[in-house]
Each structure stands twice: as structure tokens, then as C-alpha cells.
């Protein structure tokens, strides 16, 4: 990203430029069937531990992505609100970042993503409190994965121990793999060359991941201004995920 010259574009333009970002996602709630394939795929890709019934019922499950739904009306006119996958929004102005006393929650200037540096985290959990989307999860214990389940671990992703905050990384390991490959071949990463585990699994194609800074990319081509919105955009966090309303 080139530096922003306020004289050239004015403050509003600067915000627009800031809002562009590098990696982004589009989630179409009209298509999402709530099937949870993304949840399972994410857990498999990112070595997420399972916590068991007791902790799961106490709000301690570790999934990085969850599918929300509410109810409207009463029987028989009852409706389920559109399924809404919630994951780290990779805000440009992320509230989680400044509050971490040890720089475990940091912004990647190169990728414009929020990173969580697991081995730096000391577990103050301030970032999770300050996250308006409540998408950060904490390792309350060392969750056991009995032998030989550990054979399935993805070697590209750190396994987290107790006392550490974690969250969606937009499958950073995949981004890096693609970037390394592109660099070796002397080119830019192409849109659609790779995708995140959740988008890859999604049977309804409701999750699309790609480059925001490429006007030809699928995420930009898909944008439907009349249906698109961002989560809690009034907070000024500049999220990188755009949701499409139902219908």
C-alpha cells in the first residue's frame, strides 16, 4: 500500500483508501445454509482443539467461526433469521490490537490482517473483551487430543497450549504458501489461486475469499451495494468481511 497523502484525497478519501485493504471476504447470507462445513473445515485446518461437553456448554468451545441465528415471530409465523457465520473480521482499525500489553495481537502491515502471535500471548484476555464481534477464543485448559489424533495436526499451524488467545487468521499459512509460490515464480498472487479452509469447504459457495486490492477479483466483482453491509460498521473498525443480506 502506498502512503496516503491527505492533501491529494482529503480525509474521506483517505478512509476509503484505508478501507480497501488487501485480503477480504464476502459472505452471502442468502446462500449460507448453516451446514457447519466451514466450522469443521476450519477446525481441521487450524488444529483447533475440541473441549468436550462440559466446557462447550459453558461458552468455551474453541471454534474460530460460528454460525449465528436468531428467531423472529412466534409459531406458526416464526422465522429463523438468516444464518450468519461470524469469524474474525480482520478490522483495519482493530480494537483488539492496541489493548494487548505485549504485542501478541498485532496488525500485519504487509497483509493488512490481524495477527495473533501465540507464543507472545500471556493471556490477559483484554483483546477478547475489546473485540466487538466476540470472535476470539481462549485456551482455558490444555485440551487433550489422545493419540493418534495428533497425527492429523497441520504442521503449518502452531498447536496452542493453555492460557493463549486464538482466532481466525484468514488461513495465513495458505496465504504464505501462495505468496511463496508466487514469489518463486516471479508474479503476484492471483485471485482465487488459493482460498481459506472455510470458503473452500462451503457447499453453497456462500463464503468467497480473495483480494480486495484487485478490482477484478471475485470479492470485488460480487459486491452488491444494495445488499452488502459490514458488521457493526458504526464502530469504525473497518472490517474486511462484507455480508450480503438475504433476498
Amino acid at each position: 500500500m502506498k502512503p496516503i497523502d491527505l492533501n491529494e484525497m482529503g480525509a474521506i478519501g483517505a478512509i476509503a483508501q484505508e478501507a480497501e485493504g488487501k485480503w477480504g471476504m464476502v459472505i452471502d447470507q442468502d446462500l449460507c445454509t448453516g451446514c457447519q462445513a466451514c466450522v469443521a473445515a476450519c477446525s481441521m485446518e487450524n488444529n483447533i482443539a475440541f473441549v468436550g461437553e462440559e466446557d462447550a456448554s459453558y461458552g468455551r468451545s474453541l471454534q474460530w467461526i460460528r454460525i449465528e441465528r436468531f428467531w423472529e415471530g412466534e409459531y406458526p409465523e416464526v422465522k429463523m433469521t438468516p444464518f450468519q457465520p461470524m469469524l474474525c473480521q480482520h478490522c483495519h482499525n482493530a480494537p483488539c490490537e492496541p489493548v494487548c500489553p505485549v504485542f501478541a495481537a498485532v496488525h500485519s502491515p504487509a497483509e493488512d490482517l490481524n495477527l495473533q502471535v501465540y507464543n507472545r500471548c500471556v493471556g490477559t484476555r483484554y483483546c477478547a473483551n475489546n473485540c466487538p464481534y466476540q470472535v476470539r477464543v481462549f485456551n482455558w485448559r490444555d485440551y487433550e487430543r489422545p493419540e493418534p489424533l495428533n497425527n492429523q495436526f497441520n504442521p503449518d499451524v502452531t498447536v496452542r497450549r493453555r492460557g493463549i488467545m486464538e482466532k481466525c487468521t484468514f488461513c495465513l499459512q495458505r496465504i504464505h504458501r501462495a505468496e511463496d509460490l508466487a514469489k518463486a515464480e516471479g508474479r503476484e498472487v492471483r485471485d482465487g489461486e488459493f482460498t481459506t479452509a472455510c470458503a473452500q469447504a462451503c457447499p453453497a459457495d456462500a463464503i468467497i475469499f480473495g483480494r480486495l486490492d484487485d478490482p477484478e477479483s471475485r470479492v470485488n466483482q460480487l459486491s452488491k451495494p444494495d445488499r452488502g453491509y459490514q458488521m457493526l460498521e458504526e464502530l469504525g473498525t473497518v472490517p474486511r468481511i462484507t455480508y450480503f443480506k438475504e433476498g
Binding site: P101, V102, Y126, F138, R162, G163
Partner: protein
Amino acid sequence: MASTTMPMEHAHSEEAHLREQHLMLDPRPRGEMNAMIMEAMHYTTWKFWVVAAILGAIVLVGLFGSWGYMIAEGLGVAGVNRPVFWGIFLVNTVFWIGISHAGTFISAILRVFKSEFRRPFTRAAELMTTFGLVQAGFSIFMHMGRVWLSYWLFPYPNQRQLWPNFHSPLSWDLLAITTYLLASTMYLFLPLIPDLAMARDRTAGGWRKNFYKVLALGFRGTEGEWTHLRNAMNIFAFAIIPVMFSVHTIVSWDFAVATRPGWNSTIFGPYFVIGALHSGMGAVIMVLAVVRATMKNMKYFIRPEHFDAIGKLMLIISMGWAYFFFNDYMVQWYGGDKWTEALLHWHEAGPMGWMWFLMLIVNVAIPWLVLWNKRWRSNPWIVFVVGLLINVGMYLERYIIIPISLTINRMPFTWRMYEPGIEIPLSIGTLAFFILLYMIASKLIPLVPVWEVQEGQMAHSMKKFGRETVVTVSELE
């Protein structure tokens, strides 16, 4: 230094009454007073040992045992979850920092304003500051997920040139609390020097002699030493007041700068400061009541007049707290933000709504109903109960601000309640540790700054103008 003591032989019934009421007008010979203090330190009954042993056991099991278990198992044994990522540990932290407030407040503010009634209990209050901060420190480290790496919070030179993030309120907190702990410890220590010297001179031998010898730093009471001491104390008394305000303001910023409904409030700084004073005052009065009742010779030093004076302060602080509470509530409610509205509704009508009402009753209604009455507020046990209730109320206030408010966020799908687990033994452990430290201190150092009492008594005199007895105070310095 002019001696203006009234000749005793002209004692009049009104004078006797005044003398009985006011410590400052009831002087005793220095030697006798020193002996009283020494006796209070040395006189130990079996009850003391029993209580100390029980508290020690609680500290060992409840505090260190449970903490070790929690470190080994992870925070899963506590009650924290999503979205209540912060629980009782931070409640305790804020609570103990609040307690530690009053010590310095009483001592420094009253010293700066030259309030004479402060003299016998500044030490007791300052000890509260230090010991309270110790508990706050324990609590904040308990809260951490990986406490064994807590040194990463400190700015220290390291190979990878990693620094703490000074944008984080937690870093500010750490600096503020550390500064406060150092400053308040020094502020505790300075006025202690003459008393330690006195104890050194009145101790025959043994480890106590050495203990006092080392700590008294060779103080002999020369004019030069007194001048230096007074200067230093003056500087500290003035300097520590902004530090004290800053600490609790910064603690409040942990919450106020967060993007959370209910927390994101500009008035949290002063609201937390007054809340801290509220609980701290309650704690001071409880300590004084207990010290007066359990330690030898203390009825002479700590009199109903002191409870009366602190009671008035408590009443005023309670009013101030109510003012800030109302201000905070009013602005939040008027804002009409839907999440804040949900939060306020949750506070009052949620399953823990009783806490909210109980908080208002014990923090406002009871002090207002009781403390306006001079007879009641002069009674140590009545104000003890009021102080206890205020502390319960202030604990509830923090409990409401932290775990109960954390239930409500902008993602209703995640709202969940908090049920404390191992926090309970740990909280009891810190409380026991606080009391235990106090008990140990009461046997090692003079709980009453005897030289300050003597100094005050020297400055006070009663004069007769016609039939009126008039109390005069002379400027000493």
C-alpha cells in the same frame, strides 16, 4: 517548639470532658506513651496465634495451593468463559486497589490539610495501602493465562528488542500500580523511622533489636534529622496525591477505553476514584474498630472522636459516590444506545439484579441513614458494620461492572453468565493474606505513629477565656 500544655491542677469539668473526648487534649508523658505502644506490640495472647495459624493455613491452601493448581490446569478451573473473559480476579484487583486508596488518602490529604484528628491512625491506613496493593498484585497475576511469562509485561532489554505495548491500558496500569506501590511504601516508611528508633531504644536485645536497628537507619532525633524527615514527608504527601488519583483513574481506563457498552464512559475515572475512597474509608474504619478492640492500650489512642470524624468523611464520600453513580447511569441511559440499554436492563432485571439493588442500598441508603447521627457514627461497632456493608457494596459494584456487564456485548448470540469456580478460594485466600499481613505487622511495628501523636498533643492547648474553654493549636513547623 513551644510547650503550651495547660497546668493540670486547674482541671475543670468541661476540660475533663474535652480531654476524655480528644486524644490531642489528653497528653500523657512520652515515656508512658512509648511504653504503651511497646506493650501493644509485645502483648500477644493465644487467640492471636490461633487466628494467625488459621489464616496462614487458608493462605497456604486457598491462595498458594489453589493458584498452583490453577497454573497447572489452566484457567478452566476458574469461572471465566466467553464472553466473560474477565472475572473475579479483576474484581479483586480493582477492589484491593480501591482499599489501598484510602490509606494514602487519609494520610496524605489529611496531612496536607493539617487535619489533626488523623494523627493516631495514619499508620494503620498506610499499611492498608501497602498490603492491599500486595493483594491487588496477586490478583492481577492470577488473572493471567500464562503467568509464568508475566515478566514480558515489563520493559526490560532483551535480545529480540521486544517492548511492551505502551498503547495498552494494561501497560499503563502496570506502571501506575508499580509507582504507587513504591511511593506508598516509601511514604509508609518515612514516618515510621522515628517510631522504629523509639522501638530500637526500648528493645533490650534479640532479633527485634537488630530488626529495628536496621530499619531505623540510625535515626537519633537530631534537629537536622527531623528537618529532613519533615521535608521528605511533605514532598511525598503532596506528590503521592496525584499518583493516587492517577492509579485508580488508570484502572478505570482499563474499562473506559474499551469498546464495550457500559464501559465506554468518560466519567469512569473520577467514579472509580470516589468508589475506591468509599470502600477504602469503610476498610479503614473496620481496621480501626478491630485494632481498638483487640490490641492493648489502643482505647487511649483511638477514640470515638476518630470514628466520628471518619464517619463524616464516609457520609460525604457516599454522597459523592451516589452523585457519580447517578451521573454515569443517567448519561448512559439517556444515550439510548441499544446495547447500553440492554446492559442497564440486564443490571437491574437480570438474574443478578438483586446485586444492583443491594449495592445501592448498602452504598447509599445505609450510610445516609446511619452516619448523619453523631452518636451512631461515634460507635465503633456501628460504623464497623456500615464499613463492612460499604465494602460489600463496593465489591458488588465492581462485580457488576466486570463479570455481569461482560455478559452483555454487541453479539447477543454469545451472551452467557459467569459462575465463579476456583476464584472463591483464591479470593478468600487473598483476604486472609491481607489480614495475616496486618496481624504480623501489628506485632512488628507501632501501629500508632506515636511521635505524631505526641507532636500533636504538644501543639494543642486549652485556654480559658472567661468561662469558655478554648482549644488552640499552634503551628509547629
